[in-house]
Symmetry: C2
Subunit: 276 residues, 2 copies
């Protein structure tokens, strides 16, 4: 088990939480806050330039828990699905270049004009299968992240940890799961599925479910401000064998994104120590 006397070293900050910052600013700001692990989104790596980003991260001695994100496998036609695969291969190369622990995969929703949910599920399975040889060769684990069912139509049609586990069973070595408390907390089957995930758990994300929630995407809460029993969830994930970081990932258009990112990090550290 991890050493809880210095829990801060298990805190990672997803760059979406401090959305206004560039990669350079994230590294500087996290260093000021005593944080040395981050989960960057692709666009801030690309804005920095891949080679330069890799050098900055190496020089800072930072851990890259995961790269956000690949996926979006579903498309209305074959050309669209091929383009998605090409883009995912680039994402794998980026993840390898910055030493990311995994590449997060968000499935994609129903293709435009489609009501065929089972067909979308099959496209996601085929997409991951098509990506796996490149991921294995690059040594980048793929982490399927089930998203909340409210995103099924337009963002991600893999919405339960059970479904992600089923895909892992089918696809074999090189693919695991990312568990985000926000997306899965409601699931009555969660304890069983976390235990089933076991060593497949590549990444663990936290934020909180606010009551009321005013937007389906951009109204996530700081840990402790909502109703998720985060300590119980983390205990389940760690009991299943996970020994990595807790990535704090907060999409919050009306609150946290409007605040000073240094203040946001200070509160992330405090909440990580008290409620995560």
């Amino acid at each position: 088990m991890r050493d809880l006397s210095d829990d801060r070293r298990w805190l990672a900050v997803n760059t979406a939480t401090v959305r206004a910052w560039s990669l350079e600013q994230v590294i500087e700001g996290c260093t000021r806050s005593g944080i040395s692990a981050i989960a960057p989104w692709r666009h801030i790596i690309q804005q920095c330039g891949l080679a330069r980003a890799a050098r900055l991260i190496r020089d800072a001695g930072f851990t890259i828990t995961c790269l956000c994100r690949g996926g979006t496998f579903t498309a209305a036609d074959e050309a669209g699905r091929r383009a998605a695969l090409d883009d995912n291969r680039r994402a794998i190369d980026e993840a390898a270049a910055i030493g990311a622990g995994s590449l997060i995969l968000v499935a994609g929703g129903l293709p435009a004009g489609s009501k065929d949910l089972a067909g979308a599920h099959a496209q996601v399975r085929d997409g991951i299968a098509g990506l796996l040889p490149h991921a294995r060769a690059a040594g980048v684990p793929l982490a399927i992240e089930p998203l909340h069912p409210m995103t099924a139509a337009d963002r991600a049609c893999i919405n339960t940890l059970a479904h992600a586990n089923d895909l892992c069973d089918e696809l074999g070595q090189g693919v695991g799961v990312a568990i985000d408390a926000y997306h899965v907390w409601w699931d009555p089957d969660l304890p069983r599925q976390i235990a089933r995930s076991g060593a497949r758990i590549l990444s663990y994300h936290v934020c909180d479910w606010l009551v009321p929630t005013r937007d389906l995407v951009f109204d996530r809460g700081m840990p402790g401000d909502g109703i998720i029993d985060l300590q119980r969830l983390r205990a389940m994930v760690e009991d299943a064998g996970y020994g990595g970081h807790c990535d704090v990932e907060i999409f919050s258009a009306q609150n946290w994104w409007k605040r000073d990112p240094d203040e946001v990090l200070r509160i992330c550290v405090e909440r990580h120590q008290t409620v995560v």
Copy 2:
């Protein structure tokens, strides 16, 4: 199987769809539209007066598919849970008085201040168990309606048909399920769970999932305006043995609730014939 040459007689209108109307107006308006089945909410029955409502319904020869709604079993203390049971017994009596096919049960969310999801699940189970003797004596079937997981915190902590089926297994005779396309369409386990529900299916509700959805409660779509494959879902429900109505239930603060209810009913009839 039902006679599809006159499908309109399988259309029922949930009174929430024509929210501006009183019970009298609903009966008159539905009669004008050739609809003779409704699913009323308790407050419009109470506004009319229970005895008078029962007489109006009987005189019109209307079918009451179900009464919306009982439930909300979760509370922070024993007094709260007892009050909920008392209110649910009154709801059963109202359902019996108007000849409703079932009483819809919406579980209730986490009690105020609580993060104990498993505890809330237990409160719901105990609440339904406590209600069953009264329901059985009154001859009113209880229909557990799983609500979308986005409602788990503040409205209903039963969020999958699997969970509702598990409760039915545990609680025995007198309790079944209500299936609302809006709440369950995303579930990869749905075909299996609908087949498992079988004769337990007491009520079937339709509306549509809009892309984008702008509100977690009040932005449901008219059948055909969203991405749910309603015909496939209805076929699954009917293949499982359900032979009752399709209740059109649309919460739509920014669109359908602002329109002329007669126009809304006209479109309900049209969509029921073409996409449900």
